[in-house]
């Protein structure tokens, strides 16, 4: 990241903590109120490629961590500016008890399926999302399956191992 942006970010968002791991990964930890404005800000600053929205279940701390990973597209069709190799990892935490957050689909259109996925697999509600309908799953699960307290091995034992093999009646 060019130093300018880092300083600008620090000035505009004094509460956000910016750390750099290695030379290409920058981690910005922000409180949840400032995430939307931060995203809009970095988008204008050139990080216009939202590569991934992820969620980490920190069950011991009772929080979900939403992770937005951004990187810049090329400004010019031909020339590489050197900024493109930077990954900006923007993180914020929300309470695990009643997980809800604002959608970012109005800033990044491609956030739509990511948020749908997180809604389905983690049970995080995104307010303002137009299509929070199931994406992958067929069965209903009591606990969204990607949460840490969902034990897939136990689930397999309880559900699949209880399906009996076909008995040959004649035998």
């Amino acid at each position: 990241m060019n130093e300018g942006l880092k300083e600008k970010l620090e000035k505009a968002f004094p509460h956000a903590a910016i750390t750099s791991m290695r030379d290409t990964d920058y981690v910005v930890t922000a409180d949840k109120e400032s995430v939307l404005s931060l995203l809009a800000y970095v988008k204008d600053a050139g990080f216009d490629h939202l590569t991934l929205i992820s969620c980490v279940d920190w069950i011991d701390e009772g929080e979900f961590e939403l992770v937005y990973i951004l990187s810049p597209y090329m400004k010019d069709n031909e020339q590489i500016s050197g900024n493109e190799k930077i990954n900006l990892i923007l993180k914020t935490r929300i309470a695990r008890g009643n997980p809800a957050f604002q959608t970012v689909t109005h800033i990044f259109e491609n956030a739509e399926p990511y948020e749908r996925e997180l809604h389905e697999l983690f049970g995080v509600h995104f307010e303002g999302h137009k299509r929070l309908i199931p994406l992958f799953l067929e069965r209903a699960y009591d606990i969204p399956p990607f949460r840490k307290d969902f034990d897939t091995r136990r689930y397999v034992k309880e559900v699949f191992d209880n399906i009996p093999a076909i008995q040959d009646i004649k035998a």
Binding site: M21, R22, T24, D25, V27, D48, H49, L50, T51, L52, S54, V56, D57, V67, I69, S71, Y73, M74, N77, E78, I80, E84, K85, N87, I89, F108, E109, N110, E112, P113, Y114, P134, L135, F136, L137, E138, P145, F146, K148, F150, T152, R153
Partner: protein
């Protein structure tokens, strides 16, 4: 006209992979398309939380059956970043050659899918035949035809077998010898041109907004290739070009794919020429005891379909705490496809989908 509801897939000859699109159509015109994934959802990222770092390597490659190699690479790169493992120089070259071979194989598979979709069996069969030759190379190198499980943290799993260099060269030459035939029969076929040009057209601004990468973006004119913008493995060691086109339609995309294949083959030759001797594997610690310090890493590489990324979080244990893969087909198949199919012709549904090279397992994971 009567409004129809059509299911394109999952059981469908034109569907590559287990994917489904629900179409609302009026006659031949699609009103609304809804991607319906999940037929291949296995919960990889959840399963990975139950397996140790090294046990995950056989698992991750299953995320994309067409080209497992870039999944391995993304995961290995993330793990190497997290654990601070160095990769020997020769291994970087071996990895690059291996990944480029995978790209050629994968593009040939894409070519098969595309030609097959258009009912053009002839080219489809050739492409599949040639892909099989590439698979033979993989078998020789890694011991597996489809799932290679070759890249390991700290290098690669085995060195080149004896005489392998020559074998690569012979095979690629024999495939390259058929390029004029491919061109004549497929890429320069007037009817194919008629069928593909203007289909699934997307301009650069829209492509950027929707998070496109890979040939979808390159077909709109941007030379965006992770191998170039954020070089990994040995991609910065040799000269090569990023092929682009400017129309943004299916025809451009397939031409980008074609040029990319040829560029990959040239790159393999160059890499083979300047490959150094030496070690190819820095052993990671004992797999039963390997713990990676707390932290997170995002690593990305350029797969044959676009940017492939792995976001890995460790909490200091011998298993990953959370893994999330950024797969190129995800935005392509779930957003761009839906947008492109609005108002398209029913005959072009599969055409559009395959020109975006949507691979279902990497969407569902």
């Amino acid at each position: 006209m009567r409004e129809l509801e059509l299911y394109f897939g999952p059981q469908h000859l034109g569907m590559v992979g287990n994917f489904s699109i629900t179409l609302k159509a009026e006659g031949d015109r699609v009103l609304k398309a809804t991607a319906n994934p999940g037929y291949l959802h296995r919960g990889f990222e959840k399963l990975m939380e139950y397996r140790t770092w090294i046990q995950n390597f056989p698992l991750v490659c299953r995320i994309n059956v067409v080209e497992p190699d870039h999944v391995e690479m993304a995961y290995a790169m993330a793990v190497e970043k997290l654990a601070g493992i160095e990769v020997p120089e020769r291994a970087q070259y071996v990895r690059s050659i291996y990944l480029e071979l995978a790209r050629v194989g994968s593009h040939l598979f894409g070519l098969w899918a595309y030609a097959n979709m258009l009912g053009f069996d002839t080219v489809a069969q050739w492409a599949m035949y040639h892909r099989d030759l590439v698979l033979d190379l993989f078998e020789e190198l890694t011991g597996g035809r489809v799932y290679h499980i070759y890249i390991w943290p700290g290098g690669v799993r085995r060195d080149f077998p004896k005489g392998f260099k020559d074998k690569i060269v012979t095979t690629l030459h024999s495939i390259g010898g058929c390029v004029p035939d491919y061109d004549a029969a497929f890429f320069n076929n007037a009817i194919f041109h008629k069928r593909a040009s203007g289909i699934g057209k997307i301009d650069q601004r829209r492509a950027r907004e929707l998070g496109a990468t890979g040939q979808v973006l390159r077909a709109t004119g941007m030379k965006y290739d992770v191998r170039k913008v954020a070089p990994y493995a040995a991609y910065d060691k040799v000269e090569w070009n990023v092929p682009v086109r400017s129309d943004g339609d299916a025809y451009s995309r397939i031409w980008v794919v074609r040029d990319e294949m040829i560029e990959s083959v040239h790159m393999i030759f160059k890499l083979l020429d300047c490959m150094p001797e030496g070690e190819v594997f820095n052993k990671p610690p004992n797999p039963f005891k390997w713990k990676i310090p707390r932290g997170e890493a995002y690593a990305r590489c350029e797969s044959s379909r676009g940017e492939f990324g792995a976001y890995v979080v460790s909490n200091g244990e011998d298993k990953p705490y959370r893994v999330h893969f950024r797969t190129p087909s995800y935005p392509h198949g779930l957003i761009i496809l839906e947008k492109l199919l609005e108002n398209a012709n029913i005959a072009d549904v599969g055409n559009t989908m395959i020109s975006l090279y949507v691979v279902a397992p990497e969407i569902d994971r």
